[in-house]
Structure formats: C-alpha cells, structure tokens
C-alpha cells in the first residue's frame, strides 16, 4: 500500500518543500490579504490609496513570484507533479479550510455587505471604504461591495493568469487563451463599465444613464439584462443606449449561434467568459477535483437544463410584466411577446426532435418533451385564463427566487466557494444556463470536436482526471471515438496532458464528426471493415 502522507504544505511537492523564495512570496501575498482583513475590522488607514495599492500589489506580486519560482527553473512541459499529494489540491485539510473561507466570503458578500463596511447613506467603512479612492478614480462614485469584488476578481485572474501562462508555456493554445480571458476580464468586465458610468447624465447619452453593462456578459448568464429598469435606462440613453440593447439581443440570438457553430462553445466559455476566466486561472489548481462518474453526468444534465427552463420562464415573466396590451402604442405587447416566445421555443424543439433525435439520449428526449409541454401549457394557460399572472407566479417572485437561488447561491457560494472541493467548474457544469444553451448547440450543430488520434490511446486517464467539466474523456478516446460533448468548454488541457498525442481540439466538417469505432485503427483492415460497418 502507499506509504506517502498528504503533506500539510499549502503548495509544496512532498517530499519537496517550498523554496525560500516561495516562502517569502507566500508571506507577501498573505500580508496583502492581511491588510484587507484589517480593513474589514475597521482599522483606519491614514492613506487609503497607498494601503490599497500596497495590498493589491502584495497579493499580485506574491502570486506571480511564487509561480516564477515554481516554474522558471523547470524545463517546459506538464507540471502536475505532486498534485494529488498536496493537501490544498487533493481535498485535504487545507482544501476544506480554503473552501470554507471562500464560501464564507461569498455569503458575506451577497447577503451581509454591511460587514464589509457598506454604508448606503454616508461614507463607506471597512474594506469597502478602502476601495473608495480607486472607485472614485474610475467611475466617480464611492465603492460598493461589487466594486471590491470586481477588483479582487480581476487581480485574481491577472495574477493566476500569469501563473497559468508560465505553467503551460510550451503550449501556445493555452497561452493565447489565457491572454484572452485576462484581456476580457480587465477591459470588458472591469474598466469599460466603470468608465462608462462616468458618461451617465452626459449629453451624448441624451442625459440618460446606462445600466452597468459588461458587454460580454450575455443573457441568460446575465439573467437581468432585459429587466424593466435596464430597458428604461437603455432607452433613456439615446442612440448609444439603444445600440447596447440591440447588441444584447443580437449577442444571444445571432452572434452566439454563429461563433458556436464555427468554433464550439469554447469561444465563450474558455476564451471570453469571466466565470470561465476565474475557473481557468485561480481555479486551475482544482480542475482535477471534478466528479467523472456517469451519475454526476446524469445529475449535471438534469440540473443545468432545469436552470435553462427556469431562466427562460423567469425572463419571459419579467418582460411580460412590463409590456403593455395596446398594439397601437407599441407593436410588442404582452400577447405578441408570449406568442413569439412560444414560436421560437417550438421551432428549436421541433428542429432538435425532427433532425437531431438520433443524437439525443433517451432521458434528454423525455426531459425536453416534458419541459416543452410545461412551458407551452403555461403560455396557453395565460390565454385561456384571461389577463392574469403569467406562469401562475408573480414575475417578481420568480425573479427574486432566481436571483437568490441561481444568481447568488449557485454561481457564487457553491460555484466559486467550493472550488477546492468540487473542482473549478461546478457552476459552469451544473448551473450556467448560458453554458447549457451553447452546449446544446455544440452537441447538435457545431464544427467543433476533440479528435481522437486513431488507435494511439493507452487509457492512462490523464485526460479524464484533468477535465474540469468532469467529462470522462478517456471513455471516448479509448474507443477511438471523437469527443462531442455539450459540456466541453474547450480548455484544451486534455490534449495538453495526454502523453501520447491522442487528442486535438479542432473545427472540421460535420460529416463523420463523432466517428465511433468498435475496433481501432491499427488492426486488421478486414476486421475493422467487418466490425465498424455502419
């Protein structure tokens, strides 16, 4: 039996210990966090700008220094030595401590921001107060808990992004992808919306105000994008506001389908998205913790698609609630909107059931039929019951439940807080409705696949182990079958860790995209013809 013990070292490679440089780097990073923690307990810092700069620099430099020390002296290649020996990355004590700390942070962030020092009518205190100068510098207003979160989020993606780039410096796909998520987080999620806030009230917006809008955050991930208050703000802001609104609609109905057809959902999930960005950088050390069992896959399919149904119902109800009934005032009314939704859903459902039914598993068909009947029944119910509440519930109730259950608990507390326990993509895999919609298309109508290289697989299991989405990649590769899975975000790590060059992410013709074989390439040609005849 194995005699090694899990080390208590945070990041050492037992029996290797941390170098002196790494120890100092850890100390530096922790001191940066320490400043933030002191601020939480209302230590008053004389010069907030200086101390915030010190804190964020210490966190960033600490992380980068640590990574430099870890990778710079090594020959480029796969760097997974000791991953399962380290307590932090193998669900050991430190993993649980980190998981609890992160979860606690999210609970405070979402539900008790006053403990972070948020003061709604007056000067912020605590750690939010510490961020006031930066917030005022960027958008002109005092900080909120979301500004603090956004800043830390961006620092994490940048610092751990650099770590990731060094770790995979032999792999150009990984380097480019990481630069991309770092760019989209910094520019689109962080700086542009903050600067845009300065334009509010300006004459180029006709004196109106734009809602806070991260342009790459697409509905339904951005589940509130079409809510009444945001529509009002878009429409109040002249042509620019209108253009943003149109862009939001085109994003999901036009841009997304085209890009997903051409490149698979990776163009979004592992190149652009902020949730994906954090998972790929700060979450990289936890990717191996995802559950690969077929049971987990089954849970995933039911849960993530239920979230899609939930967000569709919720958004429909919310939009319905603020639309009028008089066609002479505005062409889009409650009724025409509902009919539009019903037609769109029927088209998608009909297309999948008629043209793609042989690619759907049995439970997928049952699920789709069940959910389709429910939605159409609810919409029908509206027309038969006269003008009542759509979907039996008040739109406000749906909206609040979604925001609490999915927006906060699922994506934040569980999705990120449990990184060290369930792996880095729990939200993306089980919860994200955007990922589910892109995945639906990726599975049925996309050029993207992971090609399996003939008969070269040795079933070692590196690909499955390091798949953050919990796909049992090996199950396909060892059959010589290409991997075409709805959940694959195209991070490319399976291909990177494969010791035999078996996997390649690529966009190719739809014909023969899956290419399943019973007998693998390399064997008798007659036998292959006999067994593989379709």
């Amino acid at each position: 039996m194995s005699t090694y013990n899990k080390s208590m070292a945070l990041t050492g490679e037992p029996p290797r210990s941390l170098s002196i440089g790494q120890k100092i780097a850890v100390l530096l990073g922790l001191s940066g966090l320490g400043i933030l923690l002191l601020a939480v307990f209302n230590t008053s810092f004389p010069n907030k700008t200086l101390w915030l700069t010190l804190s964020l620099s210490a966190i960033g430099i600490g992380t980068i220094w640590f990574s430099w020390d870890a990778y710079s002296q090594k020959i480029p290649g796969i760097k997974n030595d000791g991953v399962w020996f380290r307590s932090i990355s193998s669900r050991g004590l430190w993993g649980w401590v980190a998981g609890l700390a992160l979860t606690g942070f999210y609970i405070v962030l979402y539900f008790y921001p006053e403990y972070l020092g948020l003061v709604s009518d007056g000067e912020n205190k605590g750690v939010i107060g510490l961020f006031d100068p930066l917030s005022k510098f960027l958008n002109g207003n005092p900080a909120s808990q979301w500004f603090v979160y956004g800043t830390l989020y961006t620092v994490a993606i940048l610092a751990f992004g650099i770590k990731f780039i060094w770790k995979y410096r032999h792999n150009r796909y990984e380097r480019l992808r990481t630069w991309s998520v770092m760019f989209f987080q910094t520019a689109f999620a962080f700086i542009i919306p903050e600067l845009m806030a300065r334009l509010n009230g300006h004459k180029i917006l006709d004196g109106g105000s734009l809602p806070y809008y991260d342009l790459k955050n697409i509905w339904p991930l951005n589940y509130y994008n079409f809510e009444g208050y945001r529509i009002k703000m878009f429409l109040s802001s002249g042509e620019i506001g209108f253009a943003f609104l149109i862009f939001g609609i085109l994003s999901i109905f036009v841009i997304t389908p085209i890009l997903t057809y051409k490149y698979g959902k990776r163009w979004y999930c592992s190149w652009v998205c902020g949730c994906g960005g954090l998972a790929e950088t700060a979450g990289d050390s936890f990717r191996q913790l995802s559950d690969k069992s077929t049971f987990a896959w089954k849970v995933e399919r039911w849960v993530v698609h239920s979230v899609v149904v939930f967000v569709t119902l919720m958004t429909t109800a919310v939009i319905y609630s603020y639309l009028g009934t008089d066609t002479s005032k505005y062409w889009l009314t409650k009724s025409s909107f509902l009919i539009g939704v019903a037609v769109l859903l029927t088209l998608v459902f009909g297309w999948a059931m008629i043209f793609k039914r042989d690619q759907l598993q049995k439970d997928a068909k049952y699920g789709a039929i069940g959910y389709f009947v429910i939605i159409i029944a609810l919409i029908g119910f509206h027309f038969f019951s006269g003008e009542g509440e759509v979907f039996l519930f008040k739109s406000g109730t749906l909206r609040k439940s979604y925001s609490f259950l999915i927006g906060s608990i699922f994506s934040g507390v569980i999705g990120t807080g449990f990184y060290p326990i369930f792996g880095s993509r729990v939200w993306c895999r089980f919860g994200c409705p955007m990922a589910a919609i892109l995945g639906f298309q990726q599975k049925l109508f996309s050029r993207f696949r992971i090609t399996t290289n003939g008969g070269q697989c040795i079933s070692c299991g590196n690909c499955s182990t390091y798949c953050e989405m919990g796909i049992d990649v090996r199950a396909y590769a060892q059959k010589g079958e290409n991997i075409v899975r709805a959940s694959c975000v195209g991070c490319g790590i399976c291909s990177a860790v494969c010791p035999r060059g078996v996997l390649k992410l690529e966009n190719g013709p739809l014909e023969g995209r899956i290419d399943s074989n019973q007998v693998l390439l390399g064997n008798d040609v007659d036998l292959m013809n006999l067994v593989n005849k379709k």
């Binding site: 150009r172 003939g454 040795i458």
Partner: protein, 449 residues
C-alpha cells in the same frame, strides 16, 4: 452456456472480454491476482508522480463489470488442467472453463546479476511493483540515490518518476546510446541530451556487474562492469525489458517457447486454449514484427481479433501498419511504419532527418532508395495524425508526396508553431529536390469528396 475464462485482467484480456460480451451472451470470467479491477498499466507512473490517484487509472467504473456480466475473480492461477478443463486458483475456488484465454502479460527480466533478489532491488511492471517502490523510494531521505539498469521505455519512466521526488538517479544503459536498438542514432542522441538536461546521471555503454547488500540484506551499492566503479544507492531498478509471465503453465501441456506459442489464429497447441497480449509468442513472424510484442496496442488488437474467433467467426490475427508512441520525460514520441536503427537497417533504406536548431524536436523518415516509397516515420515533439499516415503507408506513398502533404499529417494543437516548411526545405537541400509544401486541406484529411 459456454464459459469463457480469461487469466489476466490487463488490456488484452479485458478487451477480449468486452468484445465477447458485445458479440455474445457467453459466461465470462476474468481471473487476476494483481488487482480487483482493470487498470491502465501504462499509467502507474503517474500515481507515483502524484498526477493521478490509483483509481484514476481504472478506465471503467466499478459497476461496469456487473452491468456487463463479466465476473471478476481475484486469485493466482497455479495450475491449468487442460484435460479436465479446470484451473486451480490460489485464493479462490477452482474454476472450469469451456474456452481458456491466457493473457497474463509479462514480468521484468532478470539476467542473473549477483544480488538481483536483494531488498531494494525491483522491476516496474505491476501494481505490486508500484507499491513496493513507494516503500523503497518514498523520498530522497530514504532513497539517497537510485541506480536504474536498462535503457528502455520503462527505465526512462522510472527515472522520470524518481526525479519528481528529487531522488538522484544513475541510469545505466548497455547500448552506446539510449534505446538505439530501436531508434536511429540521431533520434537517440537527442533523447540522451534530454535525459541529461533533467539532471539524470546517464551512463552509456555501461553494464551492471554486481549488486551489494548491507548487513540487513538491503541493497547498499552496485559495481559496474568494466571500470569496476562502485556506486552507493538505496534502490536498484531492473528495467532491462520484460519476458512473458508463463511459469504457471510449465506442466500444463501447452506448448511454450519464450511465451505461449500461438498460431495466426491465436490458438495454442491445446484445443480451446488461446493466448493473447504480452505472453503470446507467434510461431510465424508477422511482417517485421517480433514474435513476442509486449506493447499495449498489440494486446488490445489481439483481444479484438480473438473475440471474433471465440464467437464463431474464426479470424486470423493480421495487425495493420505498425505504430507506437511513448513519452521520454517531456518529449512525446510517435512512430508509424518501420524506421530501423543503423545496425538493423537494410542497404536500401534511406533516412531523412530534421532537427529543430534549439528545441527538442526532430523527425526521421525512412524510405526505400529505389521506389522512394515511405517505410516509416519517427517524430519527437511533433504529433502526427494516425489516420493520415496509416493511409499513406497503405497507399505506398513516396517521400516526395509525404513532404508535399506534410501539413495534412500534423496533429499538434491549434496555434502551435509548425515546422513543416523548415522540414521540407531541409529535405529539398539534402536530396536536391524542389518540393512545394501544400496547404492543409480538411477535405483530404477527412476524405470528403
């Protein structure tokens, strides 16, 4: 119901079982002394390195076997009685079979070195070997130096494993260059450099003479043949190849050579007894292949083929073009067709070689002098598409054709820097040709009209 019993739960036996299940309703039993469930032997190294846990090396979930009605018996077969068609198993009740498949794999070679059975001297093949290695070399305090004997694929894996725990390694290779009974000199030379780059003390052309014990019967040091140099060490890894694991068949009446002798139908001399995988020895050679091929892929292919025979479609074992792959520390290696090293190369076989000026990448293509037909290719640090190269070998393409279409064969990840144009210009310079490299073409690659 016919009862098929398979001895050995490695890739060969398990593949046979899976395919028999697909084709039939027969009762299937797999007997293994090594492990409860099938695991990927090639992945054991990653468990020691901490890349994976042992359960990750198991390609099927534990419920798979019951669901597919494949019975698993844990025990060591000590005797095969072919007259009564029964097995005597240490650790489990006796079994009767209607058809028997022997798929017991290999065991590490030992060449009678003095001290080869001391504590701290081991091979690396089985799960038990891995567990033993955790005891013998858990870290560099217990194991201050390891000596590895035998410059093949397992030797370099063992060296890589030990280096992840900062254990100093002396690597004894009998040949003048690493694995150059298989690799041409220039390919092998690059691997030598890479081994040294990883701070492994590589000793070429050096053999082991003797292993010395300390007062407790554990290994203390080794002496080298020739120089007589003594090297202190706490672990000796014997990785000089493997040999079929067939001792338990000695008195069974089944004809044995180095391995279990089989004909082209994988049948032994005894009716209803078959052998596949590492432990099978072909009576007649198949092309350039060796009589005993201890390779993952051939084990799997024999399993695929034998399942047909067992299920009523008697089929000859006719493997297609040779292919193989390995990873030497950070360098991936793939090969398709035959590229022979200099001593075994025919006069008519010419090699084209390209090597990257800085990075550890190279490629060697073997072709026939007269017809210019490509015989095979070795690539290091470059991935090739199996399907495309296999097709070119079947179509007996010339080296000019291969050069011209080299981009179609690339399997490196997207955005990788490609070296095809460097390779082709070197080819043009070496052989006075003027080949123009064609663009990558998806229609050609995927054979779409």
């Amino acid at each position: 119901m016919e009862h098929i019993v398979i001895i050995g739960n490695g890739i060969a036996g398990v593949t046979a079982a899976r395919h028999i299940r697909k084709l039939s309703d027969k009762k299937i039993t797999i007997v293994s002394a090594e492990s409860e469930y099938f695991f990927s032997r090639t992945a054991l190294m990653y468990v020691y390195m901490g890349h994976m846990k042992f359960e990750h090396t198991q390609p099927y979930e534990n419920h798979f076997w019951k669901k597919n009605r494949i019975d698993l018996v844990r025990g060591y077969v000590t005797k095969v009685n072919t007259k009564e068609k029964s097995l005597h198993i240490d650790g489990a009740p006796d079994l009767n079979y209607d058809k028997l498949i022997i798929a017991t794999g290999s065991k590490p070679n030992k060449f009678g070195w003095p001290g080869q059975d001391l504590d701290g001297v081991q091979g690396l093949y089985s799960k038990q070997d891995l567990d033993l290695l955790e005891e013998n070399a858990p870290n560099n305090k217990v194991c201050k130096r390891a000596v590895i004997v035998g410059g093949g694929l397992i030797g370099i894996e063992l060296a890589e494993m030990l280096r992840t725990r900062d254990i100093p390694v002396t690597f004894l290779v009998r040949e003048p260059s690493f694995w150059n009974n298989i690799l041409p000199n220039r390919d092998s030379e690059m691997i030598n450099e890479h081994i040294r780059e990883h701070h492994i003390d590589l000793r070429l052309g050096v053999s082991l003479k003797e292993i010395h014990p300390d007062e407790n019967g554990r290994v203390k040091s080794v002496t080298l043949a020739g120089t007589g140099e003594e090297i202190d060490c706490n672990l000796v890894g014997l990785t000089a190849g493997v040999t079929p694991n067939i001792d338990f068949l000695k008195d069974s009446g089944i004809e044995l050579g180095r391995g279990v002798k089989v004909n082209r139908f994988l049948e032994t001399n005894v009716e209803d007894v078959y052998a596949i995988g590492d432990c099978a020895e072909q009576q007649e050679a198949i092309g350039n292949r060796r009589a005993v091929e201890a390779v993952w892929y051939t084990g799997r292919m024999m399993g695929e083929t034998l399942a047909q025979t067992i299920c009523g479609n008697r089929m000859e074992y006719k493997p297609g073009h040779w292919f193989n792959s390995a990873k030497f520390l950070d360098i991936e290696y793939q090969t398709y067709g035959w590229v022979f090293p200099e001593p075994r190369k025919k006069e008519s076989e010419t090699h084209f070689h390209w090597r990257h000026p800085k990075e550890k990448r190279c490629i060697t293509i073997a072709f026939d002098n007269d017809s210019e037909t490509v015989l095979g290719i070795n690539t290091f640090g470059i991935r090739l598409r199996h399907e495309v190269f296999d097709r070119w070998l079947s179509e007996k393409r010339t080296v000019d054709f291969v050069m011209e279409h080299l981009r179609d064969a690339s399997f490196d990840p997207e955005f990788y820097k490609n070296f095809e144009s460097d390779i082709v210009s070197k080819y043009n310079a070496d052989f006075g040709k003027s080949i123009n490299l064609k663009k990558k073409n998806l229609k050609r690659i995927f054979k779409i009209a």
